[in-house]
Symmetry: C2
Subunit: 194 residues, 2 copies
């Protein structure tokens, strides 16, 4: 078993990830994570001061394991703005399923917990930078629509790539992941290009 030798901290993160990936993410309690890890609830608190910090650490852990940076770097190598936009939608859109469990738990917390809210905003701020870069590439090609300012175009793209929109189309509407990517590329193309 590869997980036998992991430090307790990592085993906790693995457990959290696993449980959060299952259904009903926001119903996952500290005691569930402890049980899954095979340690006491209090031991979890020796590694993470609060539930919010554990969730945040879990997103960072997933980022690392799934190498989100690597995925996004690839989207930056596209030659045209349009290609770059599509590559970015594909890269991020295909990453959402990985973090969805933790993301939804964090989103559910943010209303009551400022720390969780700030952390999630921060996380999403990084996505906005990606959107900004894609919009800038489009503008450089002279293909950004006249009807939106740069920042409006960025905001719009950002919204289309939100976890909430992914959840809506994939879960509430039952779309496949492939169709989701396809249609978002198409929508975003129609809204922003030319």
């Amino acid at each position: 078993m590869s997980s036998e030798n992991l430090e307790t901290r990592e085993r906790i993160l693995e457990s959290a990830w696993k449980l959060l990936t299952g259904s009903q993410a926001s119903a996952v309690r500290m005691s569930d994570i402890a049980k899954q890890t095979g340690i006491s609830r209090q031991a979890v608190y020796l590694h993470f001061p609060t539930r919010a910090e554990l969730l945040i650490a879990t997103t960072r852990y997933i980022d690392e394991v799934k190498d989100i940076d690597e995925r996004l770097v690839k989207s930056r190598s596209a030659s045209t703005g349009l290609e770059r936009l599509e590559a970015f939608v594909e890269a991020w859109g295909n990453y959402i399923p990985e973090i969805y469990g933790v993301a939804s738990a964090l989103i559910a917390m943010q209303a009551k917990d400022d720390e969780a809210g700030a952390a999630w905003s921060d996380r999403m701020g990084a996505v906005r930078h990606g959107c900004e870069a894609a919009v800038a590439a489009l503008e450089r090609d002279g293909r950004l629509t006249q009807s939106l300012s740069t920042s409006e175009a960025t905001d719009l793209l950002w919204g289309q790539l939100s976890v909430e929109n992914w959840e809506h189309l994939r879960h509430r509407c039952g779309w496949t992941q492939a169709r989701y990517i396809d249609v978002v590329q198409q929508t975003v193309g129609a809204a922003l290009v030319d």
Copy 2:
């Protein structure tokens, strides 16, 4: 004062509405609503069995007072599919601010409370019907894009008109309401028409 003669039940709904419209909607507790109404916390439970039911009753109350039906009826009188689509976006998009407080409290609850989740889904199901009708009108005019099925087009429109997307553009991105309506009409037009 018009509210002096209201039955207690209505005064509770008014209080809930008022408090939920203020900031931090999901932080509104039963005791806050009781205090605002000028009655004991237990008295609230004499009228509404759970917090979820109170929130749901509040949305219905707002629907009634703000006459959402009337607003939507108007959008149905448009002659062309495109006009109808735009009228629907305008009608619903301008209604979201009215219910936003209650909506966000309900959305925050739905993760943990099945009853709240079901009620909110039901509510949103009604919006989907409106979307469906707008898409059907577009199709009748032969102006629905080839690249989406009827139900996909409906899902897409539905997502654009979600409370979450409104919150994203208006709150997170700071757009004005007018600009929000404008850009959503434009986006939805580009994605669905022709």
